[in-house]
Amino acid sequence: MSRAAIIDAGLFATLIAVVLVAQAAGEPFVITLATKAAIFALAGVGLNLVLGYGGLVSFGHAAFFGIGGYVAGILASHAMSGQPVATFPFTMQGSNEMLAIWPMAMLLAGLAALAIGALSLRTSGVYFIMVTLAFAQMLYYFAISWPAYGGEDGLSFYVRNTFPGLNTFDPIQFFAIVAVLLGLGLLLSALIVRSRFGLALRAARAAPGRAVAVGIRPFGIRLTAFVISGMITGLAGALYADLNRFVSPTMLSWHMSGEIMVFVILGGIGRLAGPLAGAGAYILLEHLLGGVSEYWQALLGLLLLVIVLFAPGGIVGMLNGGRGR
């Protein structure tokens, strides 16, 4: 295995190890933290596909994270209340089952990515950044002003959704579900990047004129990557809502978009398991620095500044021996 692959596998193994140790030591809170890190990592894996490999600076991925979360929240709360989610064009009931919620979350997030991507990819550079940010903000304001699902206060649903054969309330079992999904996400990401599609995506990023000259249309490639990316991040959102049994417009905020980007950058963009390193580091920082001061995000900001200005390869970049982006 290459050095990069060893690091990727090592990071994933570290995550599992941390949880097993916590389970043995009777520290369920640590397991919950690790679950949060894994969910954030999955969100970052989605973004990394378009950001790291596609070179598209999407500052609106919270849109997909939030859509995934709200799908989970809406389906679950309707399952609790017994009222159908929709009666037209066909009756759709709520659901408490993860296996039903996840496809729905991914589908809707994917559709949103298709719409947002089709419009945003008509632009490039700075415009693209601003437009993706704007569309996510649009959804944020919509969620705030739509009263049916809590508006600004958000939506709580008190039971954790179900998975056949498992007790999802048990922290380590829920973590297992998340870890498997993260693993699948990493695997899918690895396959895509090494595939013909991945080759075209990377070419479209590095030399778009050349891609066109060999008969590849960057728009279609990028839009497809954007949709896949949105679906992965949407799944992470559904899991996040389940973790907290709560969803609110905050999941759609620009701050969330920035955080997802931070996960990817801290870990190193364009590195497969970068988001895992980044999310883990973020959760760790939040926990450690948060204990020092409630203004810990200022310190995070300074750290981020230092990394951007002086160590652009991120954590994985440093592990891999220096700057290699």
């Binding site: 090494r194 075209a200 590095a206 060999v214 008969g215 590849i216």
Partner: protein, 249 residues
């Protein structure tokens, strides 16, 4: 197929008040090398962009193998077999020479929406790519990153990628750009061989290469073709001498 491979008819393009392309008509016949020469600012780049499909003409028609391609986009024209090389090398710097050509093979096949099988281990991409690299004189340099190749090797890589496009015609934009005398000579020999693959529309400043290679020459000045003919005819043409070649040609 006996008619011209590429026909450009009455092409016009203006940028505001500037008429960059002024009623340009020319064609590219099978088996020939047709050179396009002219002073800087003559509109050669604009003409290339019109033919490759990067920009749309204000008026006129372009036909490729008898079919009108005015509404076909640049990627589509590449897939039809209009293989181009760039004046300033456009390579994927992090890919190796082989990977760059594999990209071209993939693009020509139109099968970029494959998500699961690894591309870089696929013999369907590797074998043709290695073949074209060798044809362009880069055998042995397959695993070198494009960014690490010498200038001359990069120009050859451009040719290799054009070869990988199943070319029905080549549009080569100053392939000699930046080449020293030896490199230019070798590249000239390569281009002469290329003629057997497909006809070449060759945009060039290097007059030695043009006179050595061209079957026909068209001269572009201020967006207009002022003369088309054999090398000897062009060298003797008074208007060409006045506008471009100078009296000593």
């Amino acid at each position: 197929m006996s008619g011209p491979i590429l026909e450009v008819e009455g092409l016009q393009k203006s940028f505001g008040a500037l008429k960059a392309t002024d009623e340009v008509t020319l064609d590219l016949r099978p088996g020939e090398i047709h050179a396009l020469i002219g002073p800087n600012g003559a509109g050669k780049s604009t003409l290339i962009k019109l033919i490759t499909g990067e920009i749309a003409a204000d008026a006129g028609r372009i036909r490729f193998e008898g079919q009108a391609i005015d509404t076909v986009d640049a990627a589509g024209r590449a897939r039809l077999g209009l293989a181009r090389s760039f004046q300033v090398s456009q390579l994927v710097p992090d890919f190796t020479a082989l990977e760059n050509v594999m990209l071209a093979v993939q693009g020509a096949s139109g099968e970029s929406f494959r998500f699961l099988r690894p591309a870089l281990a696929d013999p369907a991409l590797i074998e043709p790519a290695a073949f074209h690299l060798a044809h362009a004189g880069l055998a042995g340099r397959e695993r070198v990153a494009a960014a690490a190749l010498s200038h001359g090797e990069r120009r050859r890589l451009e040719i290799a990628m054009a070869l990988a496009m199943r070319p029905r015609a080549f549009l080569l934009d100053e392939p000699m750009a930046g080449m020293g005398a030896d490199g230019a000579r070798d590249l000239t020999a390569l281009l002469s061989d290329l003629r057997a693959e497909a006809p070449i529309l060759l945009v060039e400043h290097d007059m030695d290469a043009v006179f050595a290679l061209a079957d026909r020459v068209s001269v572009l000045v201020y967006g207009r073709v002022i003369a088309t003919g054999s090398v000897a005819e062009i060298r003797a043409d008074p208007e060409v001498r006045r506008s471009y070649l100078g009296e000593q040609a």
